[in-house]
């Protein structure tokens, strides 16, 4: 059974991937180098772009999509197919190389120079780099790697070179995993490269839990599923016998909270990803509970409870204990999200007459409204960096995914469509994934992602019809 193998794979993969600095490579001090600092400037420019249009929008009244793109030139890199260092590693070397390239180029920040244009060919991992050969084809970064099979493990080693400064960037590294986890190895290599070049942590070795959808629009079948961030390795966590909604990972990725109709009513269930066992959380009889999210320490949850038609926010410990009320108003309070430090909660409420965003202390108390643009704002999600809040905005019959600062300033819309909703942050806070639904009787939901700059909008391939994505933390 597919679901049964999930926990084993997940746990095995976590324990399996070992990383150690290789003995090889540059060991000296690592000052800021040309390539890295250039990319940092580029990212800073992106941040600056975010501010500009938002200010313009505030002056113009109605918010309009002003997605600035094409400003940043992607960094050209060369990634020769990793050298197969044992006779049986050829296919693995090729596959791992292609996944690294897909990760890097998929960000929109990097552009691969095709191997057919390469002048220097690496017959061995330790061959000296001929910088002029790479300068001649305008490569700014070069990644050289080797793959071998050793004692039933795949071993990958790689080095990153800064072509214009003519030096290796950072130490060489070596990673090992079971063959089943080869994609994770590739993602980890790409994360290291991304991190060295941008100065930020990566997000490729991560997973997304979501709702897989089949069937007609008026009888949609839904089941929980999890896949790598790029849509590979899809695995199902529930069957489709009942409606399931809006899953969320625990901070350590080991558990998933979601809403299920298995009792006939919305109830919160917590699933252990290691053995795929799930248990209903306690509820007060006669109520509906939904929209659960973990606290950053994983010890408690915040969620919505409906009583007599009114929905408020509550919190309770994950291992029991009586629920305690956080809001007390006749309005709808739902879609909560903790700040990364756990001190505050952002949520949506229609207490003003329409859905708007509010922030309150994690213990409750008087909330502060932060959304003031035209239209309705919902599904706020605090970024892992703590600086931004992503949201769904509805205005003039369109849906948008947007971001704003935690005080509500510098609002910027990243997308526009018939129906976009439910943003989730990449572990490094640079990318947002969300649900995009197409209209009409044959309409369906798909997962999309977009940079917080509004660039690089694309569909997540490989997961089929899907909704309600929630990104995991970076895997250990």
């Amino acid at each position: 059974m597919i679901t049964a193998s999930f926990g084993q794979i997940f746990a095995a993969a976590q324990a399996d991937v070992m990383r150690r600095d290789a003995e090889t490579g540059y060991k000296g001090p690592r000052p800021e180098r040309g390539m890295a600092s250039m990319m940092r400037i580029a990212l800073a420019a992106l941040a600056a772009l975010m501010i500009g249009p938002a200010m313009a929008q505030a002056q113009q009244g109605p918010l309009r999509i002003e997605i600035t793109d094409g400003v940043i030139e992607p960094l050209p890199y060369a990634l020769p197919t990793f050298v197969a260092e044992t006779g049986d590693a050829g296919q693995m070397a090729n596959d791992i190389t292609r996944v690294i390239a897909a990760d890097l180029s998929g960000t929109g920040l990097f552009r691969e120079i095709p191997e057919s244009a390469h002048i220097q060919r690496f017959g061995a991992f330790d061959m000296p780099v001929s910088y002029p050969d790479w300068q001649a084809i305008n490569a700014q970064a070069l990644i050289v790697g080797g793959v071998s099979m050793q004692g039933g493990k795949v071993v990958v080693k790689f080095r990153l070179f800064d072509i214009y400064s003519g030096q290796q960037l950072g130490d060489g590294q070596q990673l090992a995993a079971s063959p089943a986890s080869w994609r994770r190895l590739a993602h980890k290599v790409a994360d290291v490269i991304y991190s060295r070049v941008t100065g930020e942590s990566g997000y490729f070795d991560s997973r997304v839990v979501f709702v897989s959808e089949t069937g007609p629009k008026d009888a949609r079948q839904k089941r929980l599923a999890v896949a790598d961030y790029d849509g590979a390795n899809i695995q199902y966590l529930t069957d489709s016998s009942t409606i399931v909604l809006a899953p969320r990972f625990s901070p350590d990725g080991g558990r998933v909270l979601y809403t299920t109709f298995e009792t006939g009513f919305p109830r919160i269930k917590m699933l252990d990803t290691r053995n795929v066992a799930a248990t209903l959380l306690p509820e007060i009889p006669g109520t509906m509970t939904f929209a659960p999210r973990f606290s950053p320490d994983g010890g408690s949850i915040v969620y919505s409870m409906e009583q007599g038609g009114n929905t408020d926010l509550w919190t309770m410990g994950v291992s029991g204990g009586s629920p305690s009320r956080l809001t007390n108003s006749p309005a709808i309070e739902t879609a909560p999200s903790y700040s990364p430090d756990g001190s505050r909660i952002v949520f949506e409420s229609d207490r003003s007459g329409t859905q708007q965003l509010y922030i309150m202390s994690a213990g409750g108390g008087e909330p502060t409204r932060i959304s003031f643009g035209e239209g309705r704002y919902g599904t706020p999600v605090w970024s892992p960096r703590g600086d931004l809040i992503a949201f769904t905005k509805q205005h003039a019959g369109r849906f948008h995914i947007g971001v704003m600062r935690t005080d509500g300033s510098e609002e910027r819309l990243l997308t526009a469509s018939f129906l976009d909703e439910g943003p989730t942050w990449s572990p490094n806070g640079r990318v947002i994934m969300f649900t995009r639904e197409s209209p009409g009787a044959a309409g369906g939901a798909q997962l999309f992602s977009v940079d917080i700059s509004g660039r690089n909008l694309k569909k997540v391939d490989g997961v089929g019809a899907a909704s309600d994505p929630a990104w995991s933390p970076l895997l250990p």
Partner: protein, 173 residues
């Protein structure tokens, strides 16, 4: 008008499917019977011509009322239908009911769950105010998960912003 034949067809198909589900509140029927919209919960529907039949309740009185965008206010037309529902329930104490609240797709998922709950609760309160014992009524919200009409225009949205009173045998009587 164009929806009428489709609705009849749906009714026929779902009527069959729902016969397999003996749960009082239609537990787990989210797949076989979309939202339990026409769920008979295992009870005999009878004839629309028989005022004591669930079929009469569903079709002659009307099991469903509609709402304005983002509202849970019961309008005069809905009030008439609900008064009929209440009277029938008072006269047929052997039945219980579950009230389903639904929303159209023009809203975010969790907000729509809460909005559907508001609508179901508004119906419940009205029925109670008309003399139906509260312990015979339960509410559930499906949010935007179980639309009745599947187009993406106001014609369909108006049909989907609804509360449906699904009667079942026995609870609390």
């Amino acid at each position: 008008m164009t929806f009428a034949p489709k609705a009849v067809l749906l009714l026929a198909v779902l009527g069959l499917a729902a016969c397999n589900n003996p749960d009082k509140y239609g537990a787990g029927n989210g797949v076989v019977d979309p939202g339990g919209m026409y769920g008979d919960n295992g009870i005999s529907q009878g004839s629309i011509n028989d005022p004591n039949s669930p079929a009469y309740f569903n079709q002659a009185i009307g099991d469903k009322i509609l709402f304005q965008v983002d509202q849970s206010t019961i309008n005069p037309e809905a009030r008439t239908i609900l008064s009929g529902q209440a009277q029938w329930l008072v006269n047929h104490p052997q039945y219980a009911a579950i009230i389903e609240g639904h929303a159209d797709e023009q809203g975010t998922r969790e907000y729509n769950l809460a909005l559907g709950a508001r609508r179901a609760s508004a119906v419940q309160e009205f029925l109670i105010s008309q003399g139906v014992a509260g312990n015979r009524l339960r509410t559930v919200s499906y949010g935007k998960e179980r639309p009745l009409a599947v187009c993406s225009t106001e014609d369909c949205y108006a049909q989907n912003r609804r509360a449906v009173t699904v009667i079942s045998l026995g609870a609390g009587s």
